[in-house]
Amino acid sequence: MMAAGANVLAVDGLSVAFRTRAGTVAALDRVSFTVGKGETLALVGESGSGKSVTAYALLGLLDAAGRVTGGSASFEGDDLLRASPRELASIRGRRVGMIFQNPRAALNPIRPIGRQIADVLRRHAGLGPRAAKAAAVEKLREVGIPDPARRAAAYPFELSGGMCQRVMIAIAVAASPALLIADEPTTGLDVTTQAVAMDIMARLAAENGMGTILITHDLALAAERSQRIAVMHAGHIVEDAPTAELLAHPRHPYTRGLLAATPTAAGTLDDLHSVPGGLPDLRRADLPPCRYAERCERRVPGCDDPLAWRELTPGHLVACWNPA
């Protein structure tokens, strides 16, 4: 759907493994996706499906046990996966913004929020101390913090969760990045605050042509706020399609399972069904090629063949040998 070259980010075959005492965890396996300019891609899936690991791998923030074992991530001419720590340090915050889960924990608790925003502006936008201070107040105003001049002196603990989240957004987008990675940006927020925070992100994306990766477990949020959805399961992207298409014609059994489990504004408890089974143990040596196979109701003998991503209709990719 996006013309080639209009992509901000193209991830190809990203694989990540974690070494643990109990064996190697194949956390991500050949994850590929693209994010277009001004586009919001939602990564959805259950906890443990690899959504956050994807974000951390792209930004070089995996913890010491984690290792990128393959793939590339081309971002405005650079490969994020091959960038040196020094290069990454100048990319993070300047060209890629990140919103972390749990804003209260991600902000520096002993630094006023205005200064935390000014830090980003001084480091990445090259502003002097005075200009950065004034610009930080302006950024607070942009994200809808009332009385920004006074609030700039507040510490994170003096603000509500919703306000901390807005500060987090202000920090992430302070240097007008080309790509924003938002990891569960609204978990723990009330729906009303969530709507306001998402509006701010959408406005900034539209104004600056910023691409967004929205990581969420909430399919309804993804439905409302993204142009594309990539569904993750146990380290695989199992389905990737334009949002409306994915919701109207889900092809992978796991996507269908997730949709069947999501409460909606209509329907009863009897209409909801859980996805059978749980995520497979990713330390296993005998992990089947399709990591959903053991939970799957549509399993066929062909499922033991190596996993392949097939484009069923233009722009609609599915990793399934027997799609619905």
């Binding site: 259950e46 009330d190 309804a220 409460p263």
Partner: protein
């Protein structure tokens, strides 16, 4: 006339002092009005939903109703008995303790980490009902089976259980006492959708099987709608709207409920045309007793809302709304 309600709460208030009384001026300490003038009833076999934003007092109310903390004012009548006369510390050893139970938000945090699943379920049975030995084992066995907890998990500690299994332990230890009223404080907030479905279905089955009444606290309106007969919407400590869950969510009468319902993301991606609730709730510290708490954030408020606190008014279909401007939809 209906049967007498299982729970009848009248004019319940909970205020927390913050800071200290100034000894020089002698002015009283400022108070957080966490729950203010709340009246509600729960019928036998009914599920009552309690919704609102964080900080609206729903968890404080749940703790008051579970008799884990003492109300500042007001009455809680449970099966005809006035419970507020008894301090929470005494109620812990009262025979009625077993009749009102609570399931906490995150079972991983609320179960003693050094208790196995078996211990967690057995503890209350032993202390409140006096079971021991094989009788205790039989009771635990029954509760675990009702909640779908296989025997293999009994000797596991909370950190060795998955989120769904922990939720089952939390529910099993509450229903083991055969309560008549079960208070559920966001029981599925920490769970994935797929696990959430199984827990919701479990709760629905237990309700009919054991005839328990539920008070279901949640911020997820879609979940409340699935499980609850009636719903109470709270804002800054006060009830703003009460009514049958389906009716309240389909055609909310209070401007706050309208904003809340409109903010819920929908799977069909259709965004509501109702304007966003902007801003944050005002401070719950010593609020103006003569002003609507929602004023300032309300899209339709007028000067009248700063002069008179709207009381709950009755509407058809057993609905009540606290707004000067609410009209039948």
């Amino acid at each position: 006339m209906e049967h007498p309600p299982l729970l009848d709460v009248a004019e319940l208030c909970k205020r927390f002092p913050i800071g200290r009384r100034s000894w020089r001026k002698g002015t009283p300490a400022p108070m957080v009005h966490a729950v203010d003038d709340v009246s509600l009833v729960v019928q036998r076999g009914e599920t009552l939903g309690l919704v609102g934003e964080s900080g609206c007092g729903k968890s404080t109310l749940a703790r008051l109703l579970a008799r884990l903390s003492d109300a500042t004012e007001g009455s809680i009548r449970f099966a005809g008995r006035e419970l507020t006369e008894l301090p929470a510390s005494k109620f812990a050893r009262d025979p009625d303790r077993a009749r009102i139970q609570i399931v906490f938000q995150d079972a991983g945090e609320s179960i003693n980490p050094r208790f196995t699943a078996y211990d967690a379920i057995a503890d209350a049975l032993h202390h409140l009902k006096g079971f021991s030995g094989s009788a205790l084992r039989a009771q635990v066995d029954e509760a675990a089976e009702l909640c779908g907890l296989p025997l293999a998990l009994w000797e596991r500690f909370p950190h060795q259980l998955s989120g769904g299994q922990r939720a089952r332990v939390g529910i099993a230890r509450a229903i083991a006492l055969r309560p008549e009223l079960l208070i559920l404080d966001e029981p599925t907030a920490a769970l994935d959708v797929s696990v959430q479905v199984t827990i919701l279905k479990l709760l629905e089955r237990l309700k009919t099987q054991l005839g328990i009444s539920y008070i279901f606290v949640s911020h997820d309106l879609n979940v409340v709608r699935l499980l609850c007969d009636r719903v109470v919407v709270m804002y800054l400590g006060r009830i703003v709207e009460v009514g049958p869950a389906q009716a309240v969510f389909d055609a909310p009468l209070h401007p706050y409920t309208r904003g809340l319902v409109a903010a819920v993301p929908r799977l069909d991606g259709v965004r509501s045309a109702t304007p966003r609730l902007s801003g944050d709730p005002r401070s719950p510290i010593d609020p103006d007793p003569n002003a609507c708490r929602f004023h300032g954030r309300c899209p339709i408020g007028t000067d009248r809302c700063t002069a008179a606190m709207p009381a709950l008014r009755s509407f058809p279909d057993r609905r009540e709304v606290a707004c000067h401007f609410a009209v039948e939809g």
